[in-house]
């Protein structure tokens, strides 16, 4: 491997350590928020925002999505679209709930 390449990887390693620290801190924050006993709505929103930030850090830096090729990004955007549809499917069950028809 060339010297330039080695320097490049060294920078990556520094980023990995920073991401690890951020993930650890955010995990502690998630649990701290739980003990604050917020209202259900606020607790769900905050916990999901923190989890999304953590998940994005893992995907962008550990899985290198930040520098990934276009085809992979397109595949994943399509997956996200279907995932969102899937999550909203249960809401259809409310359409035939007693008293709504």
């Amino acid at each position: 491997m060339s010297d330039d390449h080695a320097v490049d990887i060294q920078k990556h390693v520094r980023t990995y350590i920073l991401v690890f620290a951020a993930l650890a801190v955010l995990t502690v924050v998630t649990v701290a928020v739980y003990y604050l006993e917020l209202s259900t709505g606020a607790a769900i929103a905050l916990a999901l925002v923190i989890a999304t930030v953590k998940g994005s850090l893992v995907a962008c830096y550990f899985m290198h999505l930040i520098s990934e090729k276009k085809l992979i990004i397109v595949v994943l955007l399509l997956t996200v679209a279907f995932f969102v549809v899937l999550l909203f499917v249960p809401l259809l069950t409310t359409l035939d709930a007693p008293g709504t028809g």
Partner: protein, 202 residues
């Protein structure tokens, strides 16, 4: 017979076959876990009193937040050791790769041991998947996730041990394999990052 595009990028896709295949597999995994998250939402929205399912008669949460918190830190650490294993190969440091990959497998083992104690406590208190809908979805989601952790451990252990022979024959191909194995491992970590708050904290 030589397998094409294990290292070189395919001109039409712009990526090597292993990387594209791994991401397509992970896309299918997103839908698998997505179906279970959707099930969780449906069960929770449809439950007359969700808190009654997640707490015992004394109002105490039936899940162990401390164990799950410890397991979250274990998996996050294993994700770092996994990516460091790959970075070590990129820097031509096979010894460091062995150390980091071995650590990743061991941390996976620690996760499974903590999970074993967690499950044991539930079964000891006669809390089964059949007890209520919350425990049903809890055991299915965490069980499927633990199965993935075990699968990832087997894969990583193979690359730590017998699979590492490829390093001498074709280092770039071996590095790619470790990178793709890492993609799976990070995905398992990512799923847990969402499972932890959804099942234990909300």
């Amino acid at each position: 017979m030589e397998i094409p595009y294990t290292v070189a990028e395919r001109p039409d896709t712009g990526v090597n076959n292993g990387r594209l295949g791994t991401w397509l597999f992970l896309a299918s995994e997103v839908m698998l876990f997505g179906a279970l998250f959707a099930t969780y939402i449906m069960l929770r929205v449809g439950a007359p009193d969700w808190d009654a399912l997640t707490h015992d008669s004394h109002g105490k949460l039936i899940l162990n937040v401390k164990m799950a918190f410890a397991n979250t830190l274990v998996l996050i650490t294993s994700s770092v050791t996994m990516v460091m294993a790959w970075a070590s190969l990129m820097r031509n440091r096979f010894g460091a790769f062995r150390m980091y990959m071995g650590s990743t497998v061991l941390l996976g083992g620690v996760f499974m041991v903590i999970k074993y104690f967690e499950y044991s406590a539930k079964l000891h208190h006669e809390l089964y998947p059949s007890t209520n809908t919350f425990l049903a979805i809890y055991f299915v989601m965490t069980g499927l996730h633990a199965f993935h952790v075990f699968g990832g451990m087997c894969l990583n252990a193979y690359f730590w041990g017998p699979g590492a022979k490829l390093w001498k024959k074709d280092p770039r191909w071996f590095t790619n394999r470790v990178e793709h194995s890492g993609l799976f491992w990070h995905f398992v970590d990512l799923v847990w990052i969402f499972l932890f708050p959804v099942l234990y904290l909300l």
